[in-house]
């Protein structure tokens, strides 16, 4: 998986681009690491650097495979495909961009949702797909998340959403913006129905995704070192014209600020989610 083709996300530090290069060996981009590591070892280690614990970005298919019990995931709403409501065109046409991403990932849009068992506990599971237009939220992503929430209410299942996204998708403009209200309103209904929502934040979660469902978890956990915020670091720097403090907008920073419950390494995610589901009864 390469992320160099993504053009929708501004906040990637240049050093962090191409997080997963081709070849058998790669250099860990972790800030204090820089070791040459064997790619197969990284893959076997849930895409975490065996040397320093740097968490590589993973797409939705890989994420679902990591979280759900083997063979338990039943995908839903996969028949929803994006349109081009605005006839959007920048340097490329939105339809061309979509086609390219669909070809690259074999998926319709930047989301994968369904029913799954996590360590034997049944749940609705929804993962944003960083490998598809940087996990940006347009109408399809918003609709799939909303339907997943509604299904969680209907079937009285706990809800787990794993976010990794550059934010709302510019190519659907106002309609993308409206997905923030739509998903958040659906979460109000889940809350009214007493449903449990566990929100998992991964690197990166920014913009309209953070400012809607991602920060509305009853329990919010984040992978170590993930960039999580409303505005991107570059925009903030341009606005305030100051150096940003070390570790700004990383998971640990959010934990200190009281904005999330826990920082959980990838290897423990399944166990922790299952534990929360147990506590939720």
């Amino acid at each position: 998986m390469t992320q160099a083709t993504s053009k929708t996300w501004v906040d990637v530090k240049s050093g962090r681009r191409n997080a997963i290069p081709e070849g058998l060996w790669m250099r860990c981009p972790g800030s204090d690491c820089g070791q040459m590591i064997y790619k197969r070892h990284v893959e076997a280690n849930l895409h975490v650097c065996p040397e320093c614990g740097h968490h590589f970005r993973v797409g939705a298919v890989e994420r679902v495979a990591q979280l759900a019990d083997e063979g338990s995931f039943v995908e839903m709403f996969g028949h929803l495909v994006p349109g081009d409501p605005l006839g959007f065109e920048d340097l490329r046409r939105y339809t061309d961009r979509l086609a390219g991403e669909q070809l690259k990932t074999g998926r319709h849009d930047a989301v994968m949702a369904g029913e799954a068992f996590i360590k034997g506990r049944q749940a609705m599971l929804c993962c944003l797909d960083l490998s598809f237009m940087m996990g940006s939220m347009g109408s399809v992503v918003g609709e799939v998340i909303t339907r997943t929430i509604e299904r969680a209410i209907e079937r009285r299942l706990p809800l787990v959403i794993v976010s990794g996204s550059g934010g709302a998708r510019m190519q659907e403009s106002g309609l993308s913006l409206m997905q923030m209200a739509k998903t958040s309103a659906a979460l109000a209904r889940l809350d009214d129905a007493g449903g449990l929502f566990i929100s998992v934040l991964t690197d990166p979660t920014t913009g309209g995704v953070t400012a809607s469902f991602a920060m509305l978890g009853d329990i919010i956990i984040a992978e170590p070192g993930a960039l999580i915020g409303f505005a991107g670091p570059r925009v903030i720097q341009q606005t305030i014209r100051q150096e940003l403090p070390d570790g700004f907008q990383r998971s640990e920073f959010l934990l200190d600020a009281g904005l999330i419950d826990r920082v959980v390494p990838r290897k423990d995610l399944r166990t922790e989610i299952a534990r929360f589901i147990d506590y939720g009864g």
């Binding site: 053009k7 996969g78 028949h79 409206m178 400012a211 903030i236």
Partner: protein, 368 residues
């Protein structure tokens, strides 16, 4: 009107306005001299008076003024009939455009401002308070950009901090308790991007507003009066009815932000292209179903005649509050949910047509 702020596409209008002002000054001077003479005071400039004796001069000046006024009106009408989206954005940002506090002063009586989020502070970028609007008691919530330099800096040019959004929600909850409708006026380039804002949970504050506004049990009416920038705008705009003023804009990102990302640089040309691509005008938003109505502005924009803009705004808000008054609290929440639930452009592909037919038949029927 601020002399220094000029929209380039209004060049012809400004030229006419200058000529008009000159003609008016001349006429004024003429009348004053005539009046002074009438008062029996000897003029120190008999030669000039001789010239001004002719009342035909005044009449011809009056005719010139009439003609110029007509021409000005026609030119404004022409210019504004066909504004491109980037021009609309610049009208929406006009420094003389009425802001939330201006509209409150124009359309509300007995405004009683309420401050503070009870947690961190009082963000001047969002104004909240109780007021009477026509026959209704309302809670007003609106972005304030600021008029003077000092006020602009305090308001961060209308970019609210988390405490602003939390203040807004606190006051909306109060309105819910009191059983009075909520009116929100949106005018922000976006929520503030800063260290403190992130530390105090900008994203969480907006997210909570979206969730909580969706289940508030009194009518909510929103109007985008100027700039409707992204989550910062939506954070107070989850309403039963949403309208835009004719020359407001509403979009997921500002044209400059979009241009910087998708066109790799923000300049006059790419900003223009981005503004067009984003479909951010009132008409586009109405066509996409994102807003329910457009409130007409006076000829040449709200900054030319704020009072008239205020009247149009008041009329629309009053009508909506009256119409929503017939709904029960449950119906109001349902109405708001449905309003946002249907938004989006999604194609439902039949499993047969799907090349990646990943849909698996579930007991619950997953083809929903």
């Amino acid at each position: 009107m601020s002399g220094f702020y000029q929209l380039d596409f209004e060049k012809d209008v400004r030229a006419l306005e200058q000529r008009l002002a000159e003609a008016r000054r001349e006429l004024e001077a003429l009348r004053k001299r005539a009046h002074d003479r009438g008062g029996g005071q000897p003029s120190p400039f008999p030669a000039l008076d001789e010239q001004d004796e002719d009342p035909a001069d005044a009449r011809s000046l009056e005719r010139t003024i009439d003609r110029l006024e007509q021409e000005r009106e026609r030119t404004i009408r022409e210019v504004y009939a066909d504004l491109d989206p980037w021009q609309v954005v610049r009208v929406a940002r006009h420094p003389d455009r009425p802001q939330t506090r201006d509209y409150i002063a124009m359309i509300c009586r007995d405004f009683c401002e309420l401050h503070g989020d009870r947690r961190f502070g009082d963000d001047p970028a969002i104004v909240t308070g109780l007021a009477r609007l026509g026959p209704h008691k309302v809670m007003v919530v609106g972005h304030q950009k600021g008029r003077t330099t000092q006020e602009k800096l305090a308001c961060h040019f209308g970019c609210a901090h988390p405490e602003g959004y939390r203040k807004a929600l606190l006051k909306m909850r109060l309105a819910e308790k009191m059983g009075i409708p909520i009116v929100t006026l949106v005018d922000t380039p976006g929520a503030y991007p800063g260290i403190g804002a992130e530390q105090r949970g900008q994203a969480e504050a907006i997210a909570v507003n979206l969730r909580e506004m969706s289940r508030i049990r009194v009518p909510i009416v929103s109007v985008i009066i100027g700039e409707g920038g992204s989550g910062g705008a939506l954070g107070i705009a989850v309403a039963n009815r949403v309208a835009m003023m004719r020359y407001a804009w509403y979009s997921v990102i500002s044209p400059e932000g979009c241009a910087a990302i998708l066109w790799k640089q923000a300049n006059e040309q790419t900003n223009q292209a981005a503004a067009k691509a984003l479909k951010l005008s009132a008409t586009d938003n109405l066509n996409l179903g994102i807003i329910d109505a457009i409130i007409d502005e006076p000829l040449g924009g709200a900054h030319r005649d704020p009072a008239q803009a205020g009247r149009a705004l008041e009329t629309w808000i009053s009508e909506q509050i009256e119409a929503l008054g017939s709904l029960s609290p449950d119906e109001l929440v349902e109405d708001r949910y449905r309003r946002f639930r249907r938004l989006g452009s999604v194609v439902e592909q039949t499993p047969a047509a799907s090349e990646q037919g990943v849909e698996a038949g579930m007991a619950g029927g997953s083809q929903a």
